[in-house]
Amino acid sequence: MNTKQRKLIYRILPYVILSVIGICFLLPLLWVLVASVDPNAMQSLKMPKHVTAGNYIDVLSSHENQRAFVIGLLMSLGQAVIVVILALLAAYPLSRYQLKYKKPFMLTILFMTSLPITAVMVPVYQLFLTLKLYDNNVGVVLFYVASSMPYGIWMLKNFMDSVPGDLEEAAWVDGASVFAGIRKIIAPLMVPGICTVAIFTFSGSWGNFFVPYILLQTPEKFPASLKLYQFFGQYGMVDYGKLAAFSIMYAMPSIVLYILSQRFMSKGFSMQGGTKG
């Protein structure tokens, strides 16, 4: 093999390896996409004889499924809103004041962001029985809020650090209260940060299966993630088309929000123009 051939191989090889990896990642995904529009979907990937929207219509027209989607949306939205508001409030003194125990507090927060939630679910279940919150969707939302609070505080505090203090002081001079300062000056300047936190907490609970699986019992209260699992167990072996259509619809919010978050992230960090303009 001469140098020229070797160079050619070095040029082509990465493309070959990456393409193989890409195909391996694509195949399982392609199945769920194709099966969802195939009236006779099977377990393996195949070309559908004709394309149908029937699977989607069937899944969507079921009241049970509609309810599961609405419950899931309400829970995840509720959680995201509460996390943003509470974390914004908590981030304010942490960002604006020199507090004595700020450093250990922030380290504890960071530590908590990385703990596996799975490990505390058994005691949480017991706690929910004691507090009469078991099988209660609001209870699940409260637990979601608590478990994503460390991440929210950590992110929003860091975002708030980059919002200059002089804007707020100017508002105070004009007679604004602290809350008005946060609401009218700081929050609008932190929209990218707030959206990032909201999107990540929303996707986190939307995609979560274990927490509602442990804390909810009545099928009528199940969010979409549990409904899909139930579906999987009940009809999984017979109706791959509907199962795939349900999966796609359930995965959609996570995918759309991820794409949106990329928009915010790329624009988000060049926000220093506030004081100059």
Binding site: F25, Y92, P116, T118, V122, E169, V178, S254
Partner: protein
């Protein structure tokens, strides 16, 4: 920060008004996060159960749960399974594959990067139950993999029964690799081109550059990413539960699955908590290492 205390400070440090801002967050975290962690320690020394005699009266049983744990052969199996799952899917799988993809993507055409990147990211963005379904059907008896093999004249394999651990490891790699890929892409972009170019001028081979320059340069990123990915993988439940349910037998029973079975299938909450404490302790140690790796 100093400027604020000089001009009209609405929140006075002295009268602790600032505390009101923190209280709601702290209260909710104390009740639903920190208190359950403390309960984990407490319950693991009790006979807490959902049914039977023990359900009526909570008793301290000392280290009984732990003694039982160390004698229980299934515990040993699930610790072993957890280790295989962690090393296979997190340490080797996601890290190495994520790094490889990031490395190979460097300096490639934008369209190509985007196509491969999107496909890998799709697995990450997809919720875990959907991932479980996609991979379950891929490895199923009549699934895509067997269909491809039969095309090449190879007879079907019952993947989920013969190599269940491999299927959940691959599923978790499919679901998680994008995170490592993103982390390493950012890290590799920070490696100055001059250093690598200088090494080329000095006659270093590609592998030498990779192992002597690139990897040492992003060493800290590798450590931090390793901790994070391991922590995420440690808590994986839904993916395994939906794909294999921990079976066949106990062949894919990792610690979270075993904890679930003990606490909610056998109703032995106390024993289940002792197992979750094991998970929690591993998590705490890894988190502490993670924070240390960030500070350096």
């Amino acid at each position: 920060m100093g400027g604020l205390t000089v001009s009209t400070p609405r929140l006075k440090r002295k009268n602790y008004t600032w505390l009101y801002f923190l209280l709601p967050s702290i209260a909710i975290m104390l009740l639903f996060f920190i208190y359950p962690i403390l309960l984990t320690f407490f319950y693991s020394f009790t006979n807490l159960a959902l049914t039977g005699e023990a359900a009526k009266e909570l008793k301290f049983v000392g280290f009984d749960n732990y003694a039982r744990m160390f004698q229980d052969p299934t515990v040993r199996v699930s610790i072993w399974n957890t280790l295989i799952f962690l090393i296979g899917s997190a340490v080797i799988g996601q890290q190495v594959l994520g790094f490889l993809i990031a490395l190979l993507m460097k300096h490639k055409s934008k369209v190509f990067r985007r196509v491969i990147g999107t496909v890998v990211l799709a697995g990450w963005v997809t919720p875990e139950i959907v991932c479980a379904l996609c991979l379950y059907s891929f490895f199923g008896d009549e699934g895509t993999l067997n269909a491809i093999l039969s095309f090449f004249g190879i007879s079907a394999v019952t993947w989920l029964y013969t190599v269940p651990m491999l299927t959940i490891i691959l599923a978790n790699i499919w679901h998680g690799t994008a995170f490592s890929m993103l982390v390493f892409q950012a890290a590799l972009d920070d490696v100055p081109n001059e250093i690598e170019e200088a090494a080329v001028v000095d006659g270093a081979s590609r592998l030498q550059i990779l192992f002597r320059i690139t990897i040492p340069y992003i060493k800290e990123t590798i450590t931090t990413n390793m901790m994070l990915v391991t922590l995420q993988t440690l808590g994986v439940f839904g993916l395994i539960y939906a794909m294999t349910g921990g079976g066949p037998g106990t062949s894919t029973t990792t610690l979270p699955i075993f904890m679930y079975n003990q606490a909610f299938v056998n109703y032995q909450l106390g024993y289940g908590t002792a197992i979750s404490l094991l998970l929690l302790l591993i998590g705490i140690v890894l988190s502490l290492f993670y924070i240390r790796s960030l500070k350096e």
